[in-house]
């Protein structure tokens, strides 16, 4: 094994020599510290608000009730919020209305026993969700006194609009969207690997963390205050950047100083992954969540080839701008050049006067913020769950490995290919198994071209 050629920051944590390139970055670090204090104060007051609400009702009331749920692409339950049910009695007079809450539950209290009709107002159903049996709406139910009658309105899968689109074009567009999101989240993963040699398995949790923070700021609210999703996203990105900085400061920098081996750092990152993941499950609960803003939008068609919701256009636009920005920053700015230099050859970079630790710090900060942004965009287009980050982590690995581990541009190219591959593969394999294709591709790449498309072969040992 030619182990000398791989980046070995973890096994020789020498102090920096000079700081020519990086004086400007130092000043920014001080600003970050001040911002940190503010955000931490925010957090202390915010945490009780995140506790799950438990409704306890076991009084003997006569009611009709139900839970409205659908299956998402992974076959997990998602609960549909904001759908109106209208209950009328035998004479056709309206008895009451119920609206489903965050967990898809609705109920309407009834004056007494008898025959009622329940009508689901299908204009309140979100885009892409339809009743599986439209002829069973309205539904007639017979309710006994003091009983809670449960109704069932099965929902179909989100429909693929074959009539208004060419399927392969539609899937490719969806794939580009997914690939852009994966790529954005994966830049940090690749740069952290490139600069420190660490395979950071906890990177997926930074993605989840970003989505959860934006949810906290925009939906749950902090001390009852909520902000719009756009502003919540900016806040969440600041928090994610700080989280990345803290993670490096408190964990990885001390480990590098102690000269911990790459493998023990890898195992520790796996430990952090599982620890953070279950802390998020503990704090936010296991059910999929949705941002309330920009949720229901009608899709815009393009030449009858494909259709796309406006928010998805924004997602793609934002990702593209961010990615081009990152690429330009890496190519043109002093800090970006320093990052690439450290990723390329740490010792040479250090001896030419770059403060390697400072560069690594900024890689963690920007990597954390980019991962968080990826999480928010993913949450906006799909759903927010406690383990989305871990699932997308493996897709990131697939993208990064395909593009070439350690190379930032490789991460972009590889992720786009993975995203498109995942979506287009649903032409052949069932939708709930679409990620399998990407993971199998990961194995095949390693078999055929382990250094990836843009990577260098000496990295792979």
């Amino acid at each position: 094994m030619p182990s000398t050629t791989r980046p070995r920051v973890f096994s020789d944590g020498r102090p920096a020599i000079t700081q020519i390139v990086t004086a400007r970055l130092k000043h920014l670090t001080k600003l970050m510290l001040a911002a940190l204090a503010v955000v931490m104060a925010f957090f202390v007051v915010a945490s009780p608000a995140a506790a799950e609400l438990v409704a306890q009702e076991d009084a003997e009331v006569t009611e009709v009730t139900g839970t409205l749920r659908a299956k998402d692409a992974d076959g997990e339950d998602i609960f549909i919020e904001g759908v109106t049910f209208v209950v009328s009695d035998g004479s056709g007079a309206e008895v009451g209305q119920g609206v489903t809450d965050v967990e898809g539950v609705w109920s309407v209290q009834l004056p007494g026993e008898g025959l009622y009709t329940v009508l689901l107002d299908d204009s309140t159903l979100p885009e892409g969700v339809d009743l599986r049996n439209p002829d069973k709406n309205p539904l007639e139910v017979d309710v006994n006194e003091g009983a809670s009658r449960t109704t069932l309105f099965p929902l179909g899968e989100a429909e693929v609009r074959e009539s208004t689109s060419i399927e392969i074009v539609q899937l490719t567009v969806d794939g580009i969207k997914l690939g852009l999101i994966i790529g954005m989240a994966a830049i940090g993963l690749s740069l952290i690997y490139g600069t420190t040699g660490l395979t950071n398995f906890a990177h997926g949790e930074m993605v989840t963390f970003g989505a959860m923070m934006a949810f906290l700021f925009s939906v749950t609210g902090v001390n009852g205050f909520t902000v719009g999703l756009v502003f919540a996203t900016i806040l969440a990105l600041v928090v994610c950047g700080i989280a990345g900085w803290l993670f490096n400061l408190l964990v990885w920098a001390p480990l590098r100083r102690r000269g911990a081996s790459l493998i023990s750092a890898l195992v520790a990152s796996l430990g952090f992954s599982i620890l953070f993941r279950y802390i998020m499950l503990y704090q936010f609960g296991g059910r999929a969540k949705f941002y309330t803003d920009y949720q229901i939008q009608s899709r815009v068609g393009f030449f009858g080839w494909f259709s796309i919701a406006p928010k998805d256009m924004w997602i793609m636009g934002i990702s593209l701008v961010v990615m081009i920005g990152v690429a330009l920053a890496l190519q043109r700015t002093r800090a970006g050049k320093a990052m690439r230099a450290v990723a390329d050859n740490r010792d040479l970079a250090e001896s030419s006067g770059i403060d390697v630790e400072l560069v690594i710090r900024w890689v963690w900060i920007s990597g954390g913020a980019l991962a968080g942004l990826g999480g928010i965009l993913l949450g906006l287009t799909e759903s927010i769950g406690w383990d989305v980050g871990f699932r997308i982590l493996l897709l990131m690995f697939a993208g990064v490995t395909l593009g070439g581990l350690g190379s930032a541009y490789g991460a972009l190219v590889g992720s786009l290919i993975v995203g498109i591959f995942i979506q287009v593969s649903t032409l052949v394999i069932p939708n709930d198994m679409k990620n399998v294709g990407a993971l199998v591709m990961l194995m095949l790449i390693l078999l055929i071209r382990p250094q990836g498309l843009l990577g260098r072969s000496e990295r792979i040992g």
Partner: protein, 330 residues
């Protein structure tokens, strides 16, 4: 607080079914990681290979129980080892880590998929394959055994488990002190040196991956028999980390390390679990801090935290020697 329940639960962790399943899987992982230095993060898939090998053969294809056992222990782990090992064993260690985790995720997605329900039972899993095993039980299902810790059927599983475990310890002891085992250690210490002495490192690593997988499959199969069902949730990615913590806690690269580690891990997990559960039930812990479902999540956090602390502060665990640790010399 019910002290006797706390004591019973902790004892069950120390010697009970979970200890047996995970000690076996950790013995397998010890051959992977402790002796050969392979970063296998998909031990849960090898466990699943044992569980699904048995249950699919018996239920889906209606074969004899012992044929199922053969498939679960010998055939499925072999296929898996070749699939996982072929692309990765020539590459650096962290690629095997990524690929094995990916394999665990592939397993989860495929087995839970409703489109394969006919063969795998999707998220409900497969049950009703363990009758032949319990028919052999000499214990009365209605009474309790071993200081009243186990009911009859559990006792039978645990007794067989102890026997298999003892055999596994003995076999792995024989293997690692054989010339074959010394080659494994040489590969762990310095693969180039082993190669320069004419040893085919790739081939030895493949054998180690398969052999460790067989022990993992044994653990998984016993788990399926013990719970009388093969369910995807019992073999998700996170299960692997329980095995890892058990191994590193006891000491990787030591014969008794995985056994001691699994016993301690489950004693600790069961102890915290029952204490928290009683605290929640008796309202010592207010509902706003922790609810009943959240108690179950604490053990995962403990495992994550344990992995972090062990990897950074005591990679050699209780028994191991620091200078013999694959965690440290790469």
């Amino acid at each position: 607080m019910d002290i006797s329940a706390i004591f019973d639960n902790t004892m069950r962790g120390l010697v009970g079914e979970q200890f047996v399943y995970f000690a076996l899987a950790a013995i397998g992982l010890n051959i992977h990681f402790g002796y050969t230095g392979l970063l296998n993060f998909g031990q849960a898939v090898f466990m699943a290979a044992g569980a699904y090998g048995l249950s699919m053969m018996v239920v889906t294809w209606d074969l004899n129980f012992w044929v199922g056992v053969f498939f679960g222990i010998v055939v499925f782990p072999f296929i898996l080892a070749v699939l996982l090992g072929a692309p990765t064993l020539r590459l650096r260690a962290d690629y095997l880590a990524i690929v094995t985790i990916a394999a665990a995720e592939i397993f989860r997605i495929v087995v839970r998929s409703p489109s394969l329900d006919r063969w795998t039972g999707s998220s409900d899993g497969i049950s009703g394959f363990a009758r032949s095993f319990y028919d052999l039980s000499p214990f009365d299902p209605g009474s309790r055994y071993f200081f009243d810790l186990f009911i009859g059927n559990q006792m039978w599983v645990v007794l067989i488990g102890w026997t298999v475990l003892a055999a596994a310890v003995f076999i792995s002891w024989l293997l690692v002190r054989s010339p074959w085992g010394r080659v494994l250690k040489a590969i762990r210490e310095d693969e180039d040196a082993a190669r320069s002495l004419g040893k085919n490192a790739y081939w030895y690593k493949m054998q180690a991956l398969y052999l460790g997988g067989v022990f993992g499959a044994l653990g998984g199969m016993l788990r399926a028999i013990g719970t009388q069902s093969a369910q995807p949730d019992n073999f998700i990615t996170d299960v692997t980390f329980f095995v890892w913590v058990a191994l590193i806690l006891g000491g990787a690269g030591k014969i008794m390390g995985p056994v001691i580690g699994a016993a301690l891990l489950y004693a600790i997990l069961n102890f915290t679990d029952i204490v928290l559960r009683q605290g929640v039930e008796s309202s010592y812990i207010p509902e706003s801090i922790m609810s009943g479902t959240q108690v179950g999540q604490v053990r995962f956090m403990l495992v994550g935290l344990g992995l972090v602390l062990l990897a950074t502060f005591r990679p050699q665990g209780i028994l191991g020697k620091k200078d013999e640790m694959a965690l440290d010399d790469r």
